[in-house]
Structure formats: C-alpha cells, structure tokens
C-alpha cells in the first residue's frame, strides 16, 4: 500500500510515518504543502492520503478540491487542528473521507487509518 503524507511540520510527518510503519506500510511519500503534493501525486499514485489543513503556499482544503477534480476515489484523511463542526463539514464537502483532530495519539491515528481503508475497500 502507498500512502502520501502532506504536512508542513516535519515532526508531524515523522510521527505519521512511524505509525504507518507499525501498520506495515513502507511505501510512503511526503509533501510539505498542497502545491508540493500536487506535483508528486501523479507519479506516486497513492492508495491513501493524509493531509493537514493549514499549510503555506497551498492549504489542505485547496489541495483536496484540486485533487478531487482528477481523482474521485483515493481515500483522504484530513489531520488538522481545525476542530469546529463547520470546518469538518466544509472538508467533507470538498471530498475527505475521514477527519482526525490534533492532538491525537498514535493509537487514534492508526485506528482512523484502518477505519478509512476498510470503509473505502468495502
């Protein structure tokens, strides 16, 4: 399985990478913002994308909107500090499949990843 991590925080990407490894996922690509992710996603062809909301250059929501124009099926999990209900709804409307609010524990992240994979492959 191939997973793309989009977050401007290297530490956050490392945490996510570590959780994915514990789940047995080794093929991981990283991007530091939405623009960077759009330039890499075509070549990498991920099976799952974890994306932060607030990032420089292109934020997570803009990335999701652009990505969904070309790909409707690849599961997306928004991992963000934006916890307000209206924001969650906005993200879901843009096309995310699941939502995880920071702070989160490694267990919460792995649970959310497993849920999303199961739901999307059903």
């Amino acid at each position: 399985m191939k997973v793309m991590l989009i977050d401007d925080s290297k530490t956050m990407r490392n945490i996510q990478r570590s959780v994915l490894r514990q789940l047995g996922i080794e093929q991981i690509e990283e991007a530091c913002d939405g623009q960077d992710a759009l330039s890499k996603v075509g070549a990498f062809q991920p099976d799952l994308i974890l994306v932060d909301w607030n990032m420089p250059n292109m934020d997570g929501l803009s990335f999701i909107k652009a990505f969904r124009k070309q790909d409707k099926s690849t599961p997306l999990i928004m991992v963000t500090t934006e916890a307000e209900k209206s924001r969650v709804i906005e993200a879901i409307k843009a096309g995310v499949n699941n939502y995880l609010v920071k702070p989160f524990t490694p267990d919460m992240l792995s649970q959310r990843i497993n849920e999303t994979i199961a739901k999307c492959s059903a």
């Binding site: 925080s9 530490t11 956050m12 945490i15 570590s18 607030n54 500090t81 916890a83 609010v101 920071k102 702070p103 989160f104 524990t105 490694p106 267990d107």
Partner: protein, 522 residues
C-alpha cells in the same frame, strides 16, 4: 652327388628373431642344380616351419631370382610369425600439483641435509639460504596436506596383451598386464579414473600404497625437519616443539615433550603432556580445552577449560571457561577466567604481583554500558515530556494550533519512550540470561594466597595484605558483593580481614547494572 642332392646342398634355412622369421638362402650354382619349389618346401618341413606361416609366392620369386642370377646367392624371408603384444600393468599417477609438492619436499630434505647445523638458527627466518633455490625450512611444510575432495591422482588402466605365434606354429605367450601395484587406502575413492580424497589429512605416498592419514603423526620434534605445522585434523607429536615454530590445527594437538617459545592456533583441544616454557614469547590461541603440566611465560586465550597440573608462571592468559589447577600455583602475570578458578596457591612468599580475575565479562561490559545509557536517556526524555504534556492537557480544549501539534508530539514521545523502555528491559534480560550461563564468579584457593596477589571478582578488586592459609572460597552474591569463607567455615569472614578492597566495582558491575534495568530477569 646326384642332381637332387646338389639342389638340396644349395638351400640354407635360418630362423631369426626368436622364431618370428624364417629366411631361405639359395646359394649360387649352375642351372642344373637349381632347387625347385618342392625342394625348398621340403627343407622348410624338415625345419618344422608351419605351412600357415609360409608367405605365398615368395618361394617362387626367390627361385626366379636365383635362376636369373645364378652367380649370386639369393635370400628371402619366406615365413613370418606374429609377435606377442605384451600387456601393460595398470598405473597410478599423482596429480601434477601434488607431485610438485613432493618434489619440493624432497628438495627441502636434500637442502636440510646439506645445511651446516650452525646455520639452522631458531631465531632467524628459518635457515634460508641466499641461493636462488633457497628453501624456507620454517614456512615450507615437510608434509603434503590435502583437503577432502581434492584431486589426488589418476588411474591409467592396464592392457591384458595378445599371444603371438612363431614360424613353427608355436604360441608365443604374451606377458599379461597386471592390476595396479599401488593400493589405494580407504581414505581415497576412485571416480572413474580420477582418485579423490575422501578425507582431509596428510598424504602418505609409498611405492605400493597411497593413503590419507587424518592424524598427523610426528615422530620427533616440530623443528626444521618438519617446518611449521598447518593441519586440518589431529596432530600427535612424540617429541616437543622448538622455539618460534607455529602449530595450527583443526583437531586435537598432543605434544609429549617440552614445548618451547612456540605458537599454537587450534580449533580444538591441546594436550601438552610435559608443559610449555614460553619464556615470555609463547603464544596460545586454543579453540577447546588446554591440558598441560605447566605454563611459563605464555600469553593467549583458551576457549575451553584450562587444566594445569603444576604451575602457571608469568603468563597472561584469558580462559573462557574454568581454570582447574587444584594442586598447582599461579605465580606472577595475569590469569583471567570467565568461570570459576580452582587453584592450589596464588602468588609466592616473595610477594610477586599476581592477578587472578574471575567471572570477568569483558564482552558484556560495553553492552551493559549502552543499555544503561539508553535507559537513562529514555528516562530523562520521558520525565521532560511528562511535565509539558500534563500542562498542555490541563488546558483542555483551549489549545492553539501549535499547542495541539505539540501535544501530539508529546503523546507520541511518551508512547515511544514506553516502547523503548520495554525493549531495553528485554535486551537486558536476554543479556543477563546469557551471562548467567557464561559466568561463575567463584574462586577456590586450596593451600594459600600470598601478599601481592590481586584478586578481581568481576569488578570487585581485592588486594591480599598478608599470606592467608587455605582453603579459601571467594565469591560474589546476587547483589555483586564479595563473600569469603575461610577453611571450610560456614560463617563468612569479613573480606576486610584478609584483603583491602581497592574497588567495590558496584557502579560498573555489568550484572548488577543489568539487574537494575531488568529486575525480574533470572
């Protein structure tokens, strides 16, 4: 003389080449006495020439020549036999590389005989001559050593032979080819015509026998006669080993007489019946047990147990298992043993510095260091993040975006630290279990330990102040503290009564440190 008699007189029959050829000579004479073919055949019959051996048309040709040149003798081979084709015996030919080694050994032997005795100096490079075909008597072995599967030689099959027949029709017996005169020992097998070594060992090549002896028997000393020994199997030396010679062996080495300042590198046990006088230059790297009468001026390592009958003097030895020398003395130098030491006397009345180290875990110490440092670092990180984590958690949902991310980091750090603590604890437990089977920190001194002796029980260093009569039992308890029992007393004697504790070793004892990290390990 009538015409018939005269004709007969002119015929002469000779048999040559051991009956394989018959020649008729018709002597010169008048035409009237020229023999007929019947005359010649009659003469051949008289000589018992077998009709089947007479060559067709030859007699007629001979007579025609005699008629044409009556003034000259005419001769012709008129009958021929068939020579016997003798058989050829089967032969064994050595592999050219082995042949070359045998030649080199012969050259070595010849050169050695030519060498003046004084030139064979033990301290030189081995009696090398300056000639172009110089022989290094030390490094060049006097034996051909082969490995299992090596090509040893070739069998050239024999030919049986075919009988012949002489001009009289008698059979000429062909000499029969015999089977191979060289017998191949059971250590060799023939694959078609190729002869292959079934085992590793020394090649014994004699006129009538080829075999491989898995044991190298040296009747005499290891010296310039033998060169250094490098043998895959067992070596048995009836003599001793001279200065600066090297013995390498895959099997057990037994030396019946004195070993001088030599070197031993073996994978198995060594038995030095008499002992080794290394004079500070002897070297041992023994892969198994070492049994010896005494050791003097020797350094090295014994991977098994060390059994000594009389004395270990001025040696620097590291023994991976036990030292068993209940009737002997360790005098001067350093004796390190990973397991128990049972010795008669340590040191001497003169106060010679003698160090006996028991239960030393040199390999474990750096690992225990790493585990300790890692445990400490993890604990520091956990404590540091715990405070910050609690402060952020107390804020409840009133977190900024940066604080939320920081809280995620801290939570991750806590999980990682817990995981690391668990893994380090497991590593410590595994190391302790392994160490438990490797070490035994127990020293038994049967008769006496003298002033000047330094005893190290793992990391605890004791210096003996005055001579102490044995039997003495010194050992460490689970906490790494030394205990002493004198002369069979059930109650321990305080260590301070017999020795000064130079170092308690508490903070460095790897076993104690590992137990601190993994208290539930065995």
């Amino acid at each position: 003389m009538n015409g018939v008699d005269a004709a007969g007189e002119r015929i002469s029959v000779t048999i040559e080449r051991g009956g394989l050829s018959c020649t008729v000579i018709v002597r010169s004479g008048p035409e009237s006495t020229l023999p007929t073919e019947a005359d010649i055949l009659a003469q051949l019959e008289v000589q018992h020439i077998h009709p089947s051996r007479i060559l067709g048309g030859v007699v007629a040709d001979l007579l025609a020549r005699a008629a044409a040149e009556p003034g000259a003798d005419q001769s012709e081979v008129v009958a021929q036999g068939q020579p016997a084709e003798h058989g050829r015996s089967a032969e064994f030919t050595l592999d050219p590389a082995i042949r070359a080694q045998l030649d080199a050994i012969q050259l070595r032997r010849d050169r050695l005989e030519e060498m003046p005795a004084g030139k064979l100096n033990a301290k030189t490079a081995g009696g090398q001559t300056s000639e172009q075909d110089a022989v290094d008597f030390r490094s060049q072995s006097a034996f051909v050593v082969v490995q299992k599967g090596d090509h040893i030689g070739q069998i050239v099959p024999g030919v049986e032979g075919t009988d012949g027949i002489d001009v009289r029709g008698h059979v000429i017996q062909a000499k029969k080819g015999r089977s191979m005169s060289v017998k191949l020992g059971e250590s060799l097998r023939a694959e078609g015509s190729e002869v292959i070594a079934q085992t590793s060992g020394v090649l014994r090549y004699q006129i009538d026998r080829v075999e491989i002896d898995p044991v190298l028997e040296i009747r005499g000393d290891v010296d310039f006669e033998t060169g250094n020994i490098d043998f895959p199997g067992c070596v048995n030396v009836s003599g001793g080993v001279k200065d600066h010679f090297v013995v390498r062996a895959g099997g057990t080495v037994t030396v019946h007489k004195l070993v001088e300042a030599a070197e031993f590198y073996t994978s198995s046990a060594v038995v030095l019946t008499q002992g080794m006088a290394g004079r500070g230059m002897g070297r041992l790297e023994i892969g198994g047990d070492l049994h010896t009468g005494y050791l003097d001026g020797v350094a090295g390592k014994v991977s098994g147990n060390l059994y000594v009958k009389r004395e270990i003097k001025e040696c620097r030895l590291c023994v991976e298992r036990r030292v068993v020398c209940p009737d002997g003395t360790v005098y001067g130098g350093q004796l390190v043993s990973r397991q128990s030491v049972d010795i008669g006397v340590i040191g001497g009345p003169g106060g010679v510095e003698t160090e006996v180290v028991v239960g030393r875990l040199a390999e474990i110490e750096p690992l225990a260091d790493r585990i300790s440092h890692l445990t400490h670092a993890v604990q520091v990180e956990r404590e540091r993040s715990e405070g910050e984590l609690k402060a952020l958690q107390e804020r409840g949902k009133k977190l900024t975006s940066a604080q939320a991310e920081r809280l995620t980091e801290l939570q991750y750090s806590q999980v990682t630290c817990e995981d690391l603590v668990g893994r380090v604890g497991q590593a410590a437990a595994q190391l302790l279990n392994a160490a438990g089977s490797w070490t035994e920190t127990k020293l038994i001194v049967r008769r006496a330990v003298y002033k000047g002796a330094r005893i190290r029980l793992r990391n605890v260093v004791l210096e003996i102040r005055d001579m102490v009569q044995g039997p003495i039992l010194l050992e460490l308890d689970k906490a790494g503290s030394p205990h002493c029992h004198l002369r069979g007393a059930s109650e321990p004697t305080p260590i301070g009564e017999i020795a000064t504790i130079r170092d308690t070793g508490e903070d460095r004892d790897p076993i104690v440190r590992l137990r601190g990290i993994s208290p539930h390990a065995a």
